[in-house]
């Protein structure tokens, strides 16, 4: 039992922004008020900020992709974060080892993270890695947007079969939701091509990108999964691509869900470029921001870039090849039979680069202008940069002065090509709590997370920030306080004290079981047929719960 006393609690879900006590019992927030302090571990949080544990909605923290990146980049692991002792050794710069990922997250007050792209064929590997990440809760989203069986069901216009297939895959793979990456484009890459608009057709199956996206949204809503489909749009990283993003968002028109969005568009920064080429590339956020703010069925995350080292890794095979050609840097590609592709290319974001500076500004424009209830902070780790720089992003959003200082470092082309210099808004602490806690929890459909109401997971963070005396001009202090939590409590256990790891526990891996809503019988002949083309036997395909460290099945239906 833990009692967090006198802290300034910000909990937008329950409308709290005031001094109060929090009582933690059996790993949950309790509303009991007769508390014997002698039986509790008491944390005095007078004059400190107390919030729920943060959630990273999109970070490539496990799976074949990041691990190939590790194998290709030993240069990444010269930074020592923690020596071995009571806890594990932790190393890594932008790519971190699995122990380092868990430790670094909780040090900043993050207690949940989502691996957003796992090829099903390789998902057992993904779970093995997730199981090696200490402390945090996690989940994985299997990739659907370039799966031959998805194309087949879309071509047959059979949404019921598609929904059955989705629930079959989630159960087999212990996955949490539906990820879509460059739909159709990655399959086109198998022929050396790509998809450049939502009307492009997929070779062999003759279905359009538009049909794939709307089909997957409809199937996802038919199942009413906790999370909506989670999309990485076509044309990522290409000047002028904001139009494709807007076209994609419009596909959600007319489809509704009372609990949440029906389309989550991820790392939007990379898909919000204007211009016709690199010479006139600029910010294309205006229309996107308008559309997201006026729609109640679309959400986004930022995809901030951080100046410095990064390792790009996506299931977007053709994009990674283009980046390899552009940068002439080393390149990993992994084509996955019948399902998807993958690529990894290292990159440095330089403030001296006009394009990188504009990208940095685009994400901040999204962070400042999109409604915090529909927006989440992310770097698309490790594509935009390391997740341990989230406090930097939060502080940039909180402090105009900090932004101006950072803008001085950036290329002056930014002044012309982005809207950021003219934006005066400073986000409030409550906005930041939304963009890191309540919004990702609602978007993901994790109702016990992102808030501190009764029964919520006891994931609680105490920061050395006094909201009553908050001054955004003291940005160095804010960034430092956000980087290093005074206390992080995960599921009722203190895991961080004064910015140092204090406890080592194992979190849960959440997965969604929607098989009650569907019947696998209707897709049986298709599965039989397509497993002739796999190189793994159908009986050996998938992940069993007993192989996982701490699986949590979430049943819908």
């Amino acid at each position: 039992m833990i009692l967090v006393k006198n802290g300034h609690v910000i909990d937008p879900v329950n409308g709290i922004n005031e001094e109060m006590d929090l009582f933690i019992k059996n790993g949950r927030i309790s509303s009991e008020f007769k508390i014997n302090e002698k039986e509790c571990e008491v944390i005095d949080a007078k004059g400190k900020l107390v919030v729920a544990g943060a959630i990273d909605i999109h970070a490539h923290i496990a799976a074949r992709k990041i691990n190939s990146g590790r194998a290709m980049r030993p240069e990444e692991f010269r930074r020592v974060r923690q020596k071995t002792g009571k806890f594990r050794a932790a190393v890594g710069r932008t790519l971190l080892t699995a122990p380092a990922i868990g430790y670094e997250y909780v040090k900043m007050g993050y207690t949940t993270a989502i691996e957003p792209a796992t090829p099903s064929l390789y998902t057992l590997h993904t779970h093995e890695e997730l199981d090696s990440i200490p402390i945090i809760d996690k989940a994985a989203l299997p990739l659907f947007g370039n799966w031959h069986l998805v194309f087949k069901f879309i071509a047959e216009n059979d949404i019921e079969k598609l929904a059955s297939f989705i629930s079959w895959v989630l159960e087999k793979m212990k996955g949490y939701g539906v990820k879509v990456v460059n739909p159709g484009g990655v399959e086109a890459w198998m022929y050396g091509s790509n998809a450049h608009s939502i009307d492009d057709l997929v070779p062999y199956y003759d279905v359009s990108v538009r049909d794939i996206i709307t089909g997957l949204i409809k199937a996802n809503e038919m199942l009413d999964l906790p999370h909506s489909i989670h999309i990485h749009c076509n044309n990522l990283g290409e000047p002028g691509n904001y139009e494709t993003t807007v076209d994609t968002m419009k596909l959600a028109n007319g489809i509704r869900n009372n609990r949440r969005q029906v389309l989550h568009v991820t790392h939007v920064q990379f898909n919000a470029f204007s211009g016709s080429g690199w010479k006139d590339m600029g910010s294309g956020t205006e229309e996107i921001i308008k559309l997201v703010n006026k729609s109640d069925n679309i959400t986004i995350d930022m995809g901030q870039v951080i100046f410095g080292h990064a390792t790009t890794m996506t299931a977007d095979g053709p994009f990674q090849f283009d980046l390899h050609k552009l940068l002439k840097n080393k390149w990993i590609n992994l084509d996955v039979e019948l399902e998807t592709g993958t690529g990894v290319v290292p990159l440095i974001y330089r403030p001296s680069s006009p394009v990188h500076s504009v990208m940095w500004a685009i994400a901040l424009e999204l962070g400042l202008l999109v409604n915090p209830d529909k927006n989440v902070i992310s770097t698309d780790y490790p594509n935009g940069g390391p997740f341990d720089r989230y406090p930097y992003i939060m502080t940039l959003l909180l402090s105009r002065k900090y932004r101006e200082k950072e803008m001085e470092r950036a290329h002056k082309y930014l002044q012309r090509a982005a809207n950021l210099p003219s934006i005066d808004i400073e986000r409030t602490l409550e906005d930041i709590v939304k963009m890191t806690r309540s919004s990702p929890a609602r978007i993901l459909g994790m109702h016990n997370k992102g808030h501190l109401g009764e029964g919520a997971d006891a994931d609680v963070v105490v920061y050395d920030i006094n909201p009553a005396e908050f001054n955004p001009d003291k940005y160095r202090e804010i960034e430092k306080a956000l980087s290093s939590a005074l206390f992080t409590i995960k599921g009722g256990t203190v895991v961080v004290k004064n910015g140092k790891i204090a406890g080592d526990i194992w979190g849960r891996t959440m997965w969604v079981d929607a098989t009650l809503r569907t019947t696998a019988e209707i897709i049986e002949p298709d599965l039989e047929e397509y497993f002739n083309y796999y190189t793994v036997n159908r009986e050996n395909y998938g992940v069993e719960e007993r192989w996982m460290r701490r699986a949590e099945r979430i049943e819908v239906g």
Partner: protein, 419 residues
């Protein structure tokens, strides 16, 4: 039992029949059949040749590791990921060296990958799409016998329906039995692969004048024909073996073929696949990568991982007499390391965990027999393309699994550290 997974080579076939009561097999290749047959086992744990209990052996092993300044923990490619993970953690906690079989096998390929990355794919990409398969410096018929039928040569896929839809080229220094299944055989002179790759890159980019009349024993016209064949194919897979990675040029050869593949991808699609040997040598690298950042040759003596292939591989560390104890798991370095390294192994206390007696057993102080992964113990293994496949327990056994032994050993070591 149906759908049994074979734990011999990197092809990790998972479509086999094995009757554990009578040790009857069906559909296995000769290599797998040999593994899934009744063989002489290490009968019980021993210390200095004397029979002891599992508990005593594990305790003694933990003491040796704990009291050692810098033990070598080597092997791992023939056990499952669950055991490998514990091995990496054990190496970290005893501040030793973690190294695995790749360091004497496909390490040059990994070094090349560090330089250039690699454009690769799962084996189903060969089965379903590949219309031109090129085997270079490898001999699948003898080393991965079911690879050609299951994945590459005869496999019937979605777009490429079978052997008739697929051209097969074998490039090697001699006409191997694998060359018999090829539509084209190209014989290169030993040690000239680098030159041939360079010539092909030049031809690919239109620098015909820069290429001499003969490269590595291959006529220029034949190379031009080969490059044209590649350019006109839709999806090419190049499979390579130690014929490239362990001949003159080593990692530079692999780097050159990776660059060739990068170039081919500007014209058509192409992937590259190393023919990995032991069934879970990929896992021995992957698990280490996520646990400590590096795949092999990792030293923990400073309390954090460091990678240096010229210093921290098993062979190098033994040659320099850096290690004062060794734990050998699922491997036989005494039979495969250079003589001077084996002599050093003889001087230090060696702990062995293995189902079968081998040369290393003869010089081990503590010998701990274990259940055979894939027959008596389950777990996860990574096929040569990294696809994770569960290997099964099909026979009951009194032997402890690698995972159980290492778990207990790690517990004991942590206890000794606390004291």
């Amino acid at each position: 039992m149906e759908n049994v997974t074979c734990t011999f080579c990197g092809a990790v076939c998972d479509d086999l029949y094995f009757d554990g009561d009578e040790f009857r097999t069906k559909d296995f290749c000769p290599l797998g059949e040999a593994k899934f047959s009744r063989k002489k086992r290490i009968e019980y744990p021993t210390i200095d040749g004397k029979k002891v209990s599992y508990e005593e052996a594990v305790e003694r092993a933990a003491e040796i590791l704990h009291n050692s300044k810098r033990p070598l923990l080597f092997g791992w490619s023939s056990t499952v990921n669950e055991a490998i993970r514990l091995g990496v953690i054990l190496a970290e906690k005893v501040r030793g060296i973690y190294d695995q079989c790749a360091s004497v096998c496909h390490a040059p390929s990994v070094l090349a990958m560090i330089e250039e990355g690699i454009a690769s794919g799962s084996l189903g990409q060969i089965k379903n799409r590949t219309d031109l398969a090129i085997f270079w410096g490898c001999n699948p018929v003898e080393a991965h016998p079911r690879h050609p039928t299951r994945y590459s040569v005869m496999a019937r896929g979605l777009l490429t329906k079978g052997r008739a839809d697929r051209k097969v080229v074998v490039v090697d220094v001699r006409k191997t039995v694998s060359a018999l299944m090829a539509s084209h055989f190209i014989q290169v002179k030993p040690g000239t692969d680098y030159l041939v790759f360079s010539a092909m890159r030049a031809l690919m980019e239109g620098y015909e004048d820069a290429v001499p009349e003969e490269v590595g024993g291959v006529r220029k016209e034949k190379l031009i024909e080969f490059v044209e064949m590649i350019k006109s194919a839709k999806y090419i897979t190049i499979l390579f073996g130690l014929g490239i990675a362990h001949t003159r040029g080593h990692d530079r050869n692999v780097e050159n073929v990776i660059k060739l593949v990068q170039l081919i991808n500007r014209y058509t699609r192409c992937i590259l696949q190393p023919m990995r040997g032991h069934f879970n040598v990929v896992g021995a690298g992957e698990v280490a990568a996520w646990e400590c950042g590096f795949e092999w040759a990792v030293d923990f003596s400073r309390g954090y991982p460091r990678f240096a292939p010229s210093e921290f591989t098993g062979v190098e560390a033994l040659l320099r007499k850096d290690c004062d104890a060794a734990l050998i798991v699922a491997s036989d370095p005494a039979a495969h390391f250079p003589r001077a390294a084996v002599e050093q192994l003889k001087r230090i206390p060696v702990i062995q965990i293995d189902p079968f007696p081998n040369m290393t057993t003869l010089l081990s102080k503590v010998v701990i027999p274990c259940a055979i992964s894939g027959i008596e113990a389950e777990g996860t293994a990574y096929r040569m393309d990294g696809v994770p496949i569960r290997v099964k327990k099909v026979v009951e056994s009194e032997y402890w699994s690698d995972e159980e032994i290492l778990e207990k050993m790690l517990e004991k070591v942590l206890k000794l550290r606390e004291d």
